[in-house]
Structures are given as structure tokens and as C-alpha cells.
Amino acid sequence: MDGIHDMGGMHGFGKVEPEPNEPVFHSDWEGRTLAINRAMGYTGVWTIDQTRAGIEQLPPDVYLTSSYYKKWELRLEKLVVALGLAGADELAKGHALRPGKALTRKLVAAEVPNTLTRGSFARPAKAPARFKPGDRVRTKNIHPATHTRLPRYARDKVGIVEALRGCHVFPDVAALGKGEDPQWLYTVLFDGRELWGDSAEPSLKVSIEAFEPYLEPA
């Protein structure tokens, strides 16, 4: 979706402000939010792309004015209610009022070390890759109202395929809970000038990781 999350190239957000000696979490609830998210993801009730889409669908004013982990918390509440895992009345009450659904698995403490590794998103390919390194490609001018990983600043732009990264779960479909629809993934490199015109820094290059459905020959 053409949402507020798609920030590449926007003006007006000001300087980057690194925090010296930043703690891992700024409050206890941040750590618990991250961990609850991880534990719920482990049960298999949603995909990582569904969770990203959940954040993107927060109202723009909420997105911009909420801290990172607050967005995660709001997204968690939204997803558990949307998927029927808990009721809004239960969250308001702070206690379960009805029994839970039977889920496939539950994360126990002893299993946590094994979950610190990211899962693999590589999948067997259904067809040969359409492009190879060195090919000129144009990104499509798409504007789906649902989740996509093709940022606005890199749509309808000509770039060069730099690398083939394998065949991966396709986020645009996985975010809809409609299976994985694996697609070839490429690193596509753009000249800064192609993206930003005359205002580009001289010699700037920017790459995105682009799924094959985003690309056409140029």
C-alpha cells in the first residue's frame, strides 16, 4: 500500500539523532512486546508479512507519533482480535473471558535458543529465473492497496540486475495469508540520478531487493 511506512526519499523528517549508549530496551514493556510477538509468531498463526502489513495499516498519524514498540503492541492487539485469538473485550478486561483456540505449537523457554535464528525464506522455484545479472530491467508502476515490498521511490525506474538471490516467499501474497507463491529475488541497482533526477548526489547508487513480479525487461 502507498502508506506512511514507505518513507524512502521523503523530506521534512529532520536530522538523524543517534542516542549515545542506547539501551537495548527503553522500558520493560518494550522487551515484553518484542518477546510476545516472537512467541505468537512461533505458534504459526501469522506470517512475518502479515505482521508487517499490520503495522502499515495503522492510521498514518498513529504510525508517525507512536514509538517503534508501541506500533508493535498496537499491531499485536489488532492481529489477535482480527484472527479471533482473543476478543477486544478480553484485552480491555486484562483477562481471558473464554477458552483459547487450539494452536499448533507453543514456545517454551528451553526452545527459545533455537528460535533466535531467522527462518529461511528460500523455496523451490516453479520456473527458471527470467533475468540474470547484467540485465537492464524496469520496475513496474504498481500501486497495490495491500502489502508490497517495492518502495514508491523505486517504481517505474530502470536499473541493472546485480545479483540473483534465489527463489523466496513472495511477501505481496504471503501478507494476505494466501500461501507463499515463491518468486525469484534479485538485487537491482539504480543510479541515483534515475531515482532523484538532477538533485541526486553525484555517483550515488541505490539498490533494492526486487521480486521478479516487480520487474520487466528494459
Binding site: 529532520g14 537495548v24 494452536l103 515490498r149 555517483s203 550515488l204 541505490v206
Partner: protein, 209 residues
């Protein structure tokens, strides 16, 4: 990391914040429903506070600075090479190391969310997830570097990697001069988190503690 789910006020007598209350309600409901185990929640938090962090990436960089064969392997297949170091239980797939040189400076961003190589750098800092960084890294990287107090030589080109998929990037910063003959452990102390994101450079030997 004990966490008392039943007490309603903190030890200082002040009120709980809105977020503390919301998270407590959420965790309680999900626990009572049987979906999550608070003991597992504690262990996850402890892992990110004490075990997983940029010290892991620093060891990877120090090894690459010291061992040309490892460096080649790292640039060829980051996941496979890092796995051989035994620093992690298991390294996830699709870790890609990109090398800084006098001619080329790499910078990593996720303009769409917060994708970051957690296994080797830990959780991302707030600035990495912030609107200023995500918006400007792709069109004003030199200005962003200025915000970090970094000025590259005019002859150094910038390459920005937008992490828009499940590939994850770590920058292999340039090894500073003056640390010849240093052990990997001493070299690792020169490798900052920001130097592995591309918003900083490795420390000079004179800056090492």
C-alpha cells in the same frame, strides 16, 4: 528477569504507564488463553539484552581483517562463513556481507520497516527505525553520515542497500591503519555497530580503550 504479573503498581508508587498496562493486559490474556508462556518471554528478553548483539558482528569483521580466506568466504556466502565461526547456535540464511574500500562506502537501510541483521548485530537502535534515517538514507546518505559526524573523502562513492526482502546485509568496514599484528580480539574492539551498518567507520587504534 523475573516479572511479577500480579502486582498493580511499581515499587516507587507511581502509576503504570498506558503502555505498561496495555502490554500487561495483552500478555495476561494470551497466557491465560494458553498461547504463550511467560517463562519463554523472559528468556527471549534476556537473550537480546545479554547474548545477541554487535559484539558478534565485530568478531566476524575482525576475523575477515585477519584471515584473507575467511574474508573471501564471507563475501561469497555470509551465512555459510559466519556459521563456521561457531559464534551462534545457527546462522540464518541470506546474510550478505558487503565490503567498504577507499573507493566505495556501503550503507544499509530498510526504508519500509526495520529489517536488520539481528543475529550478528542484535536489535536495531531507535535511529535505524526512525523516519529521518529511513527517508534520507536513500537520497541524502552523505548528509546522514554528517549527522553521525562522518565525512568521507570526495573520491569515495556511496552505495546504499535498501533491505526490501529477507536478505540481510552487514558492512565489512575498512581496517584502520596502525593495528598491524593485533589479535582478532583486539581488532574486534575497533569494530563499532555503526561501522557495520555503514553510518560509521571503524575506530582508529588510538581510540581503542
Amino acid at each position: 528477569m523475573a516479572h511479577d504479573h500480579d502486582h498493580d503498581h511499581d515499587d516507587h508508587g507511581s502509576e503504570l504507564s498506558e503502555m505498561q498496562l496495555r502490554v500487561r493486559a495483552l500478555e495476561t490474556v494470551l497466557t491465560e488463553k494458553g498461547y504463550i508462556d511467560p517463562a519463554a518471554i523472559d528468556v527471549i528478553i534476556e537473550a537480546y539484552e545479554t547474548k545477541v548483539g554487535p559484539h558478534i558482528g565485530a568478531r566476524v569483521v575482525a576475523k575477515a581483517w585477519s584471515d584473507p580466506a575467511f574474508k573471501r568466504a564471507l563475501l561469497e556466502d555470509g551465512s555459510k562463513a559466519v556459521q563456521t565461526l561457531g559464534l551462534l547456535n545457527r546462522v540464518g540464511d541470506h546474510l550478505i556481507a558487503v565490503e567498504n574500500t577507499p573507493k566505495l562506502h556501503n550503507m544499509i537501510v530498510c526504508t519500509l520497516c526495520s529489517c536488520y541483521p539481528w543475529e550478528v548485530l542484535g536489535l536495531p537502535p531507535v535511529w535505524y527505525k526512525s523516519a529521518p534515517y529511513r527517508s534520507r538514507a536513500v537520497n541524502d546518505p552523505r548528509g546522514v553520515l554528517g549527522d553521525f559526524g562522518v565525512k568521507l573523502p570526495a573520491g569515495t562513492d556511496i552505495r546504499v542497500w535498501d533491505s526490501t526482502a529477507e536478505t540481510r546485509f552487514i558492512v565489512l568496514p575498512m581496517r584502520p591503519a596502525g593495528a598491524e599484528g593485533w589479535s582478532e580480539e583486539r581488532l574486534a574492539a575497533l569494530v563499532t555497530r555503526d561501522s557495520m551498518i555503514g553510518t560509521g567507520l571503524a575506530k582508529q587504534p588510538s581510540e581503542a580503550a
